[in-house]
């Protein structure tokens, strides 16, 4: 569904992405992991067309995304830090997004809005919200359009345990519908039950791209967090 070839991005002299080649197919749920500054968010922003790479191609549904915008109607995106216009209320933001995307969306998925009880806060201004509430708005917006691809950048950071459980269940539910899910996170234990593939980035380079079973078999560890720690510590990515 998404295929990335030879993708490179430099900010000045700093190489943020270095020759990345990846292939995502429908039904995959992928964890994108790596240390801070390894290029995870930049990779996501390249897929969304927010960052423009110097080299390489991104093909979405057989079409190159350069200068294209329609493909984004298939993507629900939850940013790492949701930034919203300060003088809009939650209701304004949600209604505006619905208005923008109403022509391509058959039915809005309001489940998260209901579960997070956002309706009761519809007239609160975005500037007065706590970080966690902003995350809830971001999450609700990402799932609102029933998109085939969900891109979640550190979805549970800043959420309380109850809310993050709600979000996790929602992700699993959507995964079971066969959607392509791309998650970045640092909390590996949390990803265990959600994902089936792991991509590890370091210093802008792709270090490995393996399915969970492969990793667990290879390292002999039952838990994802331990298996990955084992892989990274031993630095044996290739076999």
């Amino acid at each position: 569904m998404i295929s990335i070839t030879d993708l490179s991005k430099k900010y000045g002299k700093l190489k943020v992405l270095d020759n990345i080649n990846l292939e995502f197919v429908k039904g995959d749920s992928i964890a994108l992991i790596g240390p801070n500054g390894s290029g995870k968010t930049t990779l996501i922003k390249c897929i969304l067309g927010m960052v423009i790479p110097q080299k390489g191609n991104i093909i979405f549904d057989k079409k190159n995304i350069v200068n294209s915008w329609k493909y984004r109607s298939n993507i629900g995106y939850m940013p790492q830090i949701g930034r919203y216009p300060d003088n809009m209320t939650i209701g304004h933001v949600i209604n505006m997004m619905k208005d923008i995307r109403k022509s391509e969306t058959k039915e809005f998925d309001q489940e998260l809005i209901q579960q997070y009880k956002l309706e009761t806060m519809f007239d609160k201004r975005m500037s007065t919200l706590s970080g966690g509430t902003r995350q809830k708005v971001s999450a609700s917006l990402a799932f609102l359009f029933n998109s085939e691809v969900l891109i979640l950048d550190e979805p549970t950071a800043g959420l309380d345990p109850v809310s993050s459980e709600i979000l996790k269940n929602k992700i699993i539910k959507e995964r079971n519908k066969g959607k392509l899910i791309l998650i970045t996170s640092h909390i590996l234990s949390e990803l265990d039950e959600i994902i089936n593939k792991v991509i590890y980035l370091q210093d802008g380079k792709l270090k490995f791209n393996k399915s969970i079973d492969e990793i667990k078999n290879h390292t002999g560890e039952g838990k994802l967090s331990k298996a990955i720690a084992n892989l990274i510590l031993n630095n044996n990515f290739d076999e």
Binding site: V51, I52, P79, P85, I100, E104
Partner: protein
């Protein structure tokens, strides 16, 4: 396009600054016309106000607005929208709001006191200046990431067009008074939209000799029709060119 434009205009209207801009222009213009017993003098004073305040408010307000909308722009960019649509909506939203503010604040008093071609000419000039300085502010804002720097550049650009430029012209004419440099001066003046607007209106009035050197020089060269056509063309270029370059930069910007 229409949807985004709607939200931009709603947002600007919710912002009280445009409303105070209308009130300010209205009070000042009315005040000037009531103070001067000679209507032509009243129009001249209003002209000076328009040439000073409209570019200043347009460029500063738009620059600040673009920086404050960075969140809004980011939110829209991850949605199925063209970058061109987003940027042009911001331009149209700002221009339409500021032009409407100008037409209400200054246009209505002018039409009450001066309902002839010269009055209409002044309103047209004000509309052009709003467009031009919104367009220049977009260019300044898209090229500088830092907000303080961007606003600083906007203020400097305004200072340059409103004050420094006239100083340079004056300096040139005095230094080179012995040479036939009128054509050169005319060419240089068209590099400044504020000067050009001033001349365009002054050519309609008889007091042009009072209004700074450039105006007087222009009066000799441009008859009314050719003068207006040339000035209008140059003014149109003055907002299209910065808008084009800002759009080109925005299309390739990382956010």
């Amino acid at each position: 396009m229409n949807k985004i434009l709607k939200y931009v205009i709603l947002d600007i209207v919710r912002n009280k600054i445009v409303l105070s801009y209308i009130a300010f222009l209205f009070i000042i213009t009315f005040g000037v016309f009531n103070l001067e017993d000679n209507q032509s003098k009243g129009l001249l004073s209003t002209l000076n106000l328009v040439l000073f305040i409209v570019p200043l408010v347009s460029i500063i307000f738009s620059t600040v607005y673009i920086y404050n909308s960075s969140e809004f722009i980011e939110l829209l960019l991850s949605q199925p929208l063209k970058r061109k649509t987003i940027w042009l909506s911001l331009f149209y939203g700002l221009s339409i709001s500021l032009i409407i503010a100008f037409v209400i604040g200054t246009g209505i008093p002018i039409l009450i006191f001066f309902p002839d071609f010269t009055g209409i000419m002044m309103i047209i000039v004000g509309v052009f200046l709003s467009l031009i300085f919104v367009s220049i502010s977009l260019l300044a804002a898209v090229y500088t990431r830092d907000k303080a720097k961007g606003i600083g550049i906007a203020i400097l650009l305004w200072l340059y067009f409103a004050l420094v430029f006239d100083g340079i012209i004056l300096f040139l004419t005095f230094q080179l008074a012995d040479y036939p440099i009128e054509k050169l001066i005319m060419a240089i003046s068209s590099l400044n939209p504020i000067d050009l607007s001033r001349i365009a209106v002054l050519l309609r009035l008889d007091d042009s000799a009072l209004m700074g050197y450039t105006g007087a020089v222009f009066k000799e060269f441009l008859g009314s029709v050719t003068g207006i056509v040339i000035s209008a063309t140059i003014l149109i270029l003055w907002f299209l060119v910065p808008l084009y370059f800002s759009l080109r930069k925005f299309k390739n910007k990382d956010l």
